[in-house]
Symmetry: C2
Subunit: 409 residues, 2 copies
């Protein structure tokens, strides 16, 4: 008898008909003798509609009140799911974040889960009931309702699984697993049977939208096995777990990409110790996230300094970099927001040399220019022209033999 | 510096534009140096829409889950009102019933308020903040969200006023006070400046929809002055307070009416000690509320037994009465749901004889047949044909000189 935490996203509970199907699925898990705790998101676009309502009232709504407002979305879906479970004869009870006591920090809109009390949940599970927990929300020490940021219901589910020492945390969604690449981009992308936390972290950080980054970090930290599977359909999905050292990992597990990039290049800057600091201080001081950073020396003793930011931050970052460059005589600034980032991820890179060379060679043969490179132990990312992205992803997906039938790694 | 509790109903916060107006009104009260606590209902028909959603999912939703669902309606409106107050520079905070700790019984859908904790409210008032409290909801001892029944936001407001020892509890609504009669029925009905709790109780119990009966009972019990006034408009409204013995009360203060009546008459029943019991046991056993009851003896030793029920209960009550009458040989049953009840209310009746005679005489002159009569110390109700209701109300309103200019009583 296992304890399973299941998280159903907004599209999985987007209508009463779908909520009935979710209830049937929860009942089936219970019918197999397992215990279930369910975490749910708000129905469909309910959260967006509440945000629109608040912004129509005032452009910058108070964060505390916005959280109180948004939290109603999950309260609605979990009350409805509990009703649908009752209608199938399954004893269930809806719980808000405050009723469970999912204690968070007070940073409204992006609160961090600090502690999940299990008293209420343990009592319900012991009584054979299904707790249906509102995702995305918690309560701070002062009793204020908090939300933990977009996609936060994944994190709620993982936090519940950690606190309850669940056997598995299942993320039920509108795709049936994690793929070698987004199937909309590469039609013959393959579902992965299994993936390590590290790989999933890199994929989530590099543009894969299947799982929320923070949820994967949380699961990895506490070693809770995650499974991504289709909420309305069969199939084993993708298991995300600690690396299995007994199985040889493929060199590359997946290809991720992100179109929302902008690149700023400051060239011909005198190479002084504080150059990088001067150029970036304004940007980071404004809270703009800088992703790739490359510094290259020229033969004349000057340096070229390039970095990328989110496309939405492009104009502001450019202006701030310009102010920084004013301290650097002779500096020239170029920038573009027509660039995209492609990343290959795989734990096998650790033990296989030449992966970068193979990647650059494949791109060079196709005439695709690499503008920037950044790497981690199990990832290589390249910045390329946005118009080349689709071709580059397909070439690389093929180069590393990712297409074809699903299989264990 | 007074402490005012203001309650805004669903139509008063039915749109963002109206919520902004409510915020302006709350700011104005505060601007005069008074402290304000606000209780709000759900926006417009939000509660109805949530009920429809639940019933579309399952015909008889679990009462606990229905309460969790419905409570979101007030949570939305009070978060939005708090935002609108911030936008005007008024420090405010939304509070759910659970955050205030409005402790209720566990009778979901019709919970009774047992205690209102004032710790949070007192601290906010001391800090110059406006607490914006979700009406209609509370929390039981186990932490479950409860609702206190339709119209319950009035009761929330009164309970807040009692707990906080407020100077006045204002019910802001879509009418500008309590009238001598519904102005849609009697166009020259007059707004009452002042009314006693007893009169308001009778009017609310006899079909006046301005105030929720339980809220008036609560206010009367604790002597909290209530004021009914228009949420979007000026004017002093109607003050409902303890009777003022120094002012002579008019004989009749108002005329109320209720169309949703059905009458069942069992005639020619042998007069045995258990007759009334046999005839009514099924009806009351089924939880059907019986309003007027009249028992009259005939010359042949049999009795006629008549009673009224809500029109929606007519068919069921008739069938149950028929079963009861089966034990009474010779009984005949008649019934109609085309009847209506009209009531006149006034504390002056206590000291003025002949009010009933004057009422019956006026109706008789107009050829209107009275089918049943019931009375209290300050009320006379008559059951008449529904088709006669409008005429009867106008005749009686005129007979007791209720029309004309508003004035103190």
């Amino acid at each position: 008898m296992a304890l399973i935490v299941q998280k159903y996203g907004g599209t999985s509970v987007g209508s009463l008909e779908l909520i009935r199907k979710v209830a049937a699925r929860v009942a089936a898990v219970r019918g197999r003798g397992d215990s279930v705790v369910v975490a749910v998101s708000a129905m469909g676009d309910a959260t967006d509609r509440l945000v629109d309502l608040a912004q129509a009232l005032c452009p910058a709504p108070d964060p505390r009140e916005l959280d109180a407002l948004l939290a109603t979305g999950e309260q609605v879906s979990c009350a409805l799911l509990a009703m649908a479970l009752h209608a199938r004869g399954v004893p269930a009870r809806s719980l808000t974040g405050s009723q469970v006591r999912i204690r968070t920090s007070s940073a409204h809109g992006r609160a961090r889960i600090e502690e999940v009390e299990t008293t209420v949940l343990d009592a319900m599970l012991a009584a054979g009931e299904v707790p249906v927990v509102a995702g995305f929300q918690g309560v701070d020490a002062a009793g204020a309702i908090t939300t933990i940021g977009r996609g936060g219901s994944d994190t709620t589910a993982v936090a519940l699984a950690v606190a309850l020492k669940a056997d598995e945390c299942q993320i039920l969604t509108d795709v049936d697993g994690v793929y070698t690449c987004d199937p909309r981009m590469v039609p013959d992308a393959r579902r992965l049977e299994r993936l390590s936390f590290d790989e999933m972290l890199e994929l989530a950080g590099q543009g894969s939208r299947v799982l929320h980054l923070r949820a994967v970090e949380f699961a990895a930290k506490y070693g809770v096995a995650l499974r991504v599977l289709a909420s309305h359909g069969d199939g084993p999905g993708t298991l995300i777990d600690r690396e299995d050292p007994t199985v040889e990992a493929p060199v590359v597990s997946g290809v991720a990409f992100n179109r929302d990039e902008a690149q700023i290049v400051v060239s011909g800057v005198p190479n002084a110790p504080d150059t990088a600091y001067r150029l970036l201080q304004g940007v980071s001081g404004a809270g703009i996230e800088v992703d790739m950073i490359v510094l290259a020396s020229n033969q004349d003793g000057t340096i070229d300094f390039a970095f990328t930011v989110h496309r939405g931050d492009h104009a502001q970052a450019l202006e701030l970099a310009r102010q920084g460059a004013a301290y650097c005589p002779g500096a020239r600034i170029d920038s573009t927001d027509r660039v995209a980032k492609m990343s290959i991820v795989g734990v096998g890179m650790r033990s296989h040399a030449g992966v970068a060379a193979r990647l650059f060679s494949a791109l060079a043969r196709a005439g695709i220019t690499v503008r920037l490179v950044s790497t981690s132990e199990i990832r290589i990312s390249v910045l390329i022209d946005e118009t080349e992205l689709e071709r580059a992803v397909r070439i690389v997906h093929n180069e590393f033999s990712l297409s074809g039938q699903s299989g264990n790694y």
